[in-house]
């Protein structure tokens, strides 16, 4: 159902774009194709790795480390992991979804996804170069704290 809506939305917007400007539409499709090419192999790699993870990890490991009973430790662990790794959301969401199905807690997954997008330990030096050390330090630390808070709230609401 949701997938159908997305297809319809994309189709409708594409038609609208085509109607308004043929050349721009062609360019947008080229952008989409280039984007696909840049991530296709990586997506394949991720999906295959998910296959390995889900069939080889001892059942219960994920839920033990970042599951409901892992408490604040699991949440902070997930948040730290999300802050350090540099992966695209395109790849992170399926991975996070597979963990969620393996009974990881909503809180930990929310912490992981939120810090993944908002906190960048690896990109912080670059950010500091552009906006100053204090700015980068504070923006990233505050984002980390808020990510954990958001995650805890989500854990309370979505049980």
């Amino acid at each position: 159902m949701f997938v159908l809506i997305i297809w319809l939305l994309a189709g409708a917007l594409l038609c609208l774009s085509l109607f308004k400007d043929r050349e721009k539409t062609a360019r947008s499709l080229r952008v989409a194709w280039k984007f696909f090419c840049s991530m296709a192999l990586l997506v394949l790699l991720t999906i295959w790795s998910i296959g390995f993870l889900l069939s080889l990890l001892p059942p219960g490991l994920i839920s033990r480390v970042i599951g409901q009973d892992s408490g604040l430790k699991g949440v902070v662990l997930a948040a730290l992991f999300g802050s350090v790794v540099l992966i695209q959301a395109f790849i992170a969401f399926p991975l996070a979804g597979s963990f969620l199905r393996q009974s990881a807690s909503v809180t930990a997954i929310a912490a992981f996804v939120t810090t993944l997008v908002m906190v960048g330990v690896l990109t912080a030096p670059l950010e500091a170069k552009f906006f100053g050390k204090r700015f980068a330090l504070w923006r990233n630390s505050l984002s980390f704290i808020f990510a954990v808070v958001i995650a805890l709230l989500m854990g309370v609401v979505l049980r």
Partner: protein, 171 residues
């Protein structure tokens, strides 16, 4: 590209591992492939329309429009513009840094730029669709609903903390 070669190398290793696993344990080896295939199908069902949306955004909302929209705005309008501008464009956070800098130069305040950076990082319309697909609508929209005020709070605290810093005077 070099990055591609690294990824290909890893893919090769995975293939090798999969063959070994299959020889050692037929069932597990097949299970890996089967799980992978299911995820692949799930991915392919949603990827094409999202890619189309990404392409359309990129072309119809070019980065110069973004800069113009935020350059002169200030106050509440600037905050709002920061939100909208951040959601529309695509790309990882480090793409946003140079744009943020040029926004600063064009007169946007550092704190609106901080909103822009946070929004750019966390709220992307195609990404939200992706999140709904893989993590569920409840999850995605609740996270969105909490992230928006969260970003406001971060901006507010940043404002307090950095008030006397050099950058603030520059900006």
């Amino acid at each position: 590209m070099r990055e591609n070669r690294v990824v290909l190398g890893f893919l090769f290793l995975l293939a090798l591992a999969n063959v070994c696993l299959y020889i050692l344990n037929r069932e597990k080896g097949l299970a890996v492939l089967l799980t992978g295939k299911n995820y692949l199908l799930e991915m392919l069902s949603i990827l094409p329309p999202i890619l189309i949306l990404v392409g359309l955004f990129e072309v119809w909302v070019p980065k110069t429009v973004i800069e113009r929209a935020m350059g002169q705005s200030s106050g509440f309008k600037g905050i709002l513009a920061s939100y909208f501008v951040g959601t529309a464009a695509m790309g990882p956070l480090y793409v946003a840094f140079p744009i943020g800098l040029s926004l600063l130069r064009k007169g946007a305040s550092l704190f609106n730029v901080s909103i822009f950076l946070c929004v750019w990082a966390s709220i992307k319309i195609p990404m939200i669709l992706f999140e709904v697909k893989f993590l569920g609508a409840d999850f995605a929209f609740l996270r969105l609903a909490l992230t928006i005020p969260g970003i406001m709070a971060i901006r507010w605290i940043l404002n307090l903390v950095l008030k006397r810093s050099r950058l603030y005077e520059e900006a």
